[in-house]
Symmetry: C2
Subunit: 194 residues, 2 copies
């Protein structure tokens, strides 16, 4: 069954996005040359420029593509579990060892894009929106204010960073105690004392 031009175009686009995710996670944004990105997608640089205009265009498209994927992943994760405590546990497990495509590469990519966003205003807006959505979704899923979700996300990111440098530095149970502790404190008033 022959593909239409549109299908071929969409296929190339998807290939380039997937290749970008993997190559950038491995070599970094700056270390991933246009030729290397295209080759990993079984295309040439010409296809990349036809699809995204330039290298930055691909990065912005990658951010956009991923924004939706992240929201879907959190939602699916929560529909599969019932108790709050179970949700925390599966959240942490999926965070440090993602089962989906890309494996643990996505955490490195996350940091790469975060740094990229720090130097590119258009990207910053997209990444900031991605984080805001994640806070909202997580807050809703755990039935806590988004401020608590902010703390939970922060803790997971920071623990994952330390764990990547030294796998023994962060114990799973310690991580869960930390997450549960923050969750339980959700009833507290932020101005309760000084």
């Amino acid at each position: 069954m022959a593909k239409t031009q549109q299908e071929r175009r969409a296929d190339t686009r998807q290939r380039l996005l997937t290749a970008a995710r993997d190559v950038i996670a491995e070599r970094g944004v700056a270390g991933a040359s246009v030729d290397a990105l295209a080759e990993a997608a079984d295309r040439t640089s010409g296809a990349l420029y036809a699809q995204f205009g330039n290298k930055d265009g691909l990065l912005l498209a990658l951010l956009d593509h991923w924004k939706k994927a992240t929201a879907n992943a959190i939602e699916a994760d929560f529909e599969a579990t019932s108790s709050i405590d179970e949700r925390l546990r599966s959240l942490w497990a999926n965070f440090i060892n993602p089962p989906a495509d890309g494996g643990d590469a996505w955490v490195l990519l996350e940091h790469e894009l975060w740094l990229y966003a720090g130097r590119n205003p258009a990207a910053r807006e997209q990444v900031a929106a991605r984080y805001a959505d994640a806070r909202e979704d997580l807050g809703a899923g755990l039935a806590v204010p988004s401020e608590v979700a902010t703390l939970l996300i922060a803790l997971m990111i920071g623990l994952e960073m330390q764990r990547r440098l030294d796998p023994d530095a962060v114990d799973d149970e310690v991580a869960l105690v930390g997450l549960r502790t923050l969750l339980r404190a959700s009833g507290m008033d932020a101005t309760q004392e000084r």
Copy 2:
């Protein structure tokens, strides 16, 4: 008063390290060319190669230089405060708005070097040791086990990341409530429940 050769060499070394800190924070490790690093230090690339062998050598030296500076900063910070609660507050304040040289650039540099360490085994060892020392020092300063220090550091890093994307995303008081909550939970047994 004329400088000796040794003094001049030490001066150049310090200039290159300081310049590397600033330029890398602004443009990233990959975006900071050898010529740009040397020029920012009012030297040329020749001096850089004579001092550090190559670009990686400068990065490793920067990590080593900074390892000591970080430990000193935490120590000084804690000697100046008395109560635990005050120490938490000053810790957070200094973390998101460092008063010392480099300003808020150091957080970006921290992430740059963390990513660099993820792809360079020799650097990973150094950065991992840096984090381990920070955990020990912070645990000692707050009179809590290093596991709690791990959680506190993680929370601060993650909050700072979200804050940089959107200054309104992380309220100072919420951050302090999170830190205090984790600190209070230090008496808990990690295996207390499931």
